[in-house]
């Protein structure tokens, strides 16, 4: 194995690229779960976002329109979840799974004509002299604008949840929807908005996968990224700052194993490919073992809400 083939600057740079889809999807799911809703359909919304974004970008030649389409696709699918769980009071776990199964099927149906095409490339953000700093410039300041948008969205999500009135309402609903309802908050309406936001973010993450990270469309290309995003939310104890940490950690593992594969590691490819999933499981175990006293999860997470009066 030739480890010198791995350049630290390039590794850090690809870490940021690898972490961005996870960060976007996990941030969306974080807001959904803080509102007390467990949407396990992240994988389905991500892959639908991946194909919607890819198709739109290829057809129009415009990556921004592609990202928009990805977000819209994810949000539309998440609204199916919202209607089923908030109006028809369906089980959230089962509905989330349905969303994933349906999303995988629908995306490969939509993607039939798009296999093997290269998408238009997404513009780099010109950061002027910052990009010219040796090592750091290549690692942190020469990315496309989505990377920086995802960092900005982390900050915005933190600000929204902890510093605004609307964020407080959303958290109140997540902690105790009965009490929030009694206070006159529109539980269902706010949850609809949170779910749609989560869908849009998952779709955006998916579009980033197909437009920048890979960049190509293949069936089932999310390969569990949506599930890892769900694990990151647990890892992060439902806090935006830690979601950033988690996404970069898991993105780092993914990128590192890909680099080791390319460098010709002695470990077989299959064992390297399974490492992100194994690491995710191990981290989940460590987190849950440490937190055995109490949980940081929103108290109403996953419980159905039915207003009696």
């Amino acid at each position: 194995m030739d480890l010198s083939a791995i350049s630290p600057a390039l590794l850090l740079a690809s870490l940021m690229i690898g972490a961005t889809p996870l960060l976007l999807a996990a941030l969306g799911e974080l807001v959904v779960e803080r509102a007390g809703v467990l949407n396990l359909g992240v994988e389905g919304m991500m892959i639908l976002g991946a194909i919607c974004g890819f198709a739109m970008a290829v057809e129009t030649g415009s990556p921004p329109l592609g990202f928009l389409a990805g977000a819209v696709g994810g949000a539309l699918l998440s609204l199916v979840f919202a209607v089923l769980t908030q109006i028809f009071l369906a089980n959230q776990v089962a509905t989330g799974l349905a969303l994933t199964l349906f999303g995988l099927g629908l995306s490969s149906l939509l993607g039939q004509g798009y296999v093997g095409i290269k998408p238009p490339s997404t513009a780099r953000l010109d950061l002027g002299p910052l990009s010219d700093i040796p090592l750091l410039g290549r690692a942190f300041f020469s990315h496309d604008w989505m990377v920086y948008l995802s960092l900005f969205l982390t900050l915005a999500t933190w600000f929204f949840l902890s510093r605004t009135r609307a964020g407080l309402k959303l958290r109140a609903i997540g902690e105790n929807h009965e009490a929030a309802h009694a206070l006159g908050l529109h539980v269902v309406a706010i949850r609809f908005a949170a779910i749609a936001f989560g869908g849009a973010m998952a779709g955006l993450g998916g579009a980033y996968l197909s437009l920048v990270r890979v960049p190509q469309w293949t069936e089932g290309m999310t390969a569990g990224a949506g599930w890892i995003a769900l694990a990151i939310v647990v890892f992060a104890s439902w806090r935006p700052g830690r979601v950033l940490l988690g996404a970069y950690l898991f993105g780092g593992v993914t990128v590192l194993q890909l680099n080791l594969q390319a460098a010709g590691s002695a470990l077989p490819v299959e064992y390297l490919s399974m490492s992100p999933y194994v690491v995710t499981i191990l981290v989940l175990v460590l987190i849950s073992a440490r937190r055995s006293r109490g949980t940081a999860a929103p108290a109403s997470l996953g419980k159905p809400f039915h207003a009696v009066s």
Binding site: L89, L97, G224, I228, A231
Partner: protein, 361 residues
């Protein structure tokens, strides 16, 4: 204004009617999807649901396929439903199915080329153990560390898929296969072949196991104390604890049963219909079984019927893709839609719909 009023007890009529209503709604929505794809919707629905059973040209081939495909679905779904009833979410059956196939095939191939009658039963036991062990990982992590079993069981599917890819080109590769990935053909080795028991019916040992599992699950759920505990834990976890139900033991029990059944489905598949361990012998039965479990309303007899219906959509889907050029992905979306409608109309079982203004209680 339309409002929902919770029924004091789930409606028995709707419990039976909702799956049928969901299938009808899916057929309507599916027709719209096929029309949007530029296919004749009537012909598509007919090809999926009618032709595999009654068309003189295809029925001869596809009727036996019904049992071949329904067998693993019913076997896996029966185990999953026990857990789902108890609020234990094993959604990694696909991984347990793969590990059962690997473990069973490895046990058999270790003895190749001996011809002996004990080999097939040995492989079946190894298959069940393989699925069981894989399911014990999320179960024990859940009971020991309170780790989320949904995420762990699902993530283990990806680990299992990579292990499958590894053994298909490594440990279990056919030494006489000219370097191609994939194991020896287990269906052509007399000691391991899971052959049709009655010619042209598709009935193999996996189907027999599925029927036994359904009977076993029915007795367990409706004639045994464990069944009461399972239902109680799902409906009222707190009450269950007061009634002396140990939640940890229930988690381990549900994962053990569903894992072992998924492992069985895996070994019956690679010794019969699939024939060998290959990188992609698994076709997602472990995930479709989740739909089957819900479509059957988590009831063993319902699952038997739901498994047959879902098998029909698989076979009809293949036929529709062959005859009408409807992409296979459309069938997958069609199956996903079925689960959506099922979950939506299920509200009628637990709630009644009142028209008119809300009364204040």
């Amino acid at each position: 204004m339309i409002s929902l009023v919770r029924r004091p007890q789930p409606s028995r009529v709707w419990a039976w009617a909702t799956p049928i209503l969901a299938v009808l709604l899916t057929v309507i929505a599916g027709s719209l999807m096929f029309a949007a794809l530029g296919k004749d919707p009537v012909a598509a629905i007919r090809t999926i649901f009618y032709d595999p059973l009654f068309d003189p040209q295809f029925a001869g081939y596809s009727r036996p396929q019904l049992l071949v495909k329904a067998g693993p679905l019913i076997l896996i779904a029966t185990g999953l439903a026990l857990g789902f009833k108890a609020g234990v979410w094993n959604i990694g059956a696909e991984g347990q199915y793969i590990m059962g196939a690997i473990a069973g095939a490895a046990a058999g191939l270790a003895l190749y080329p001996i011809e002996a009658t004990f080999i097939f039963p040995l492989m079946v036991i190894a298959g069940a153990l393989g699925g069981w062990i894989w399911a014990m990982i999320p179960a024990i992590l859940k009971t020991r560390f309170n780790t989320n079993e949904i995420l762990v069981s699902l993530l283990l599917v990806y680990v299992a898929e990579n292990l499958l890819a590894s053994v298909a080109v490594g440990a279990l590769r056919n030494p006489e296969g000219g370097g191609f990935p994939g194991s020896r053909n287990l269906a052509q080795w007399a000691s391991s072949a899971n052959a049709e028991l009655i010619a042209d019916t598709g009935l193999h040992w996996g189907v027999v196991a599925a029927i036994i599992a359904v009977i076993f699950a029915y007795v367990l759920l409706h004639r045994h104390l464990t069944g009461v505990h399972i239902r109680l834990a799902g409906q009222a976890p707190r009450a269950a604890r007061f009634a002396g139900v140990n939640p940890n033991r229930l988690v381990v029990f549900c994962f053990a049963i569903s894992g072992a059944l998924a492992g069985l489905a895996g070994i019956f598949e690679v010794t019969g219909p699939a024939g060998q361990i290959s990188i992609d012998f698994n076709v997602g039965y472990g995930f479709t079984a989740i739909i089957v479990a819900f479509l059957g309303r988590l009831h063993p007899v319902g699952i038997l019927l739901a498994g047959l219906l879902m098998a029909l959509t698989y076979i009809g889907g293949e036929l529709a893709s062959f005859m009408l050029g409807i992409p296979a992905a459309a069938i997958q979306a069609f199956q996903g839609m079925l689960l959506f409608f099922l979950l939506a109309v299920d509200v009628l079982t637990h709630y009644s719909i009142r028209l008119g203004s809300k009364r204040l209680a």
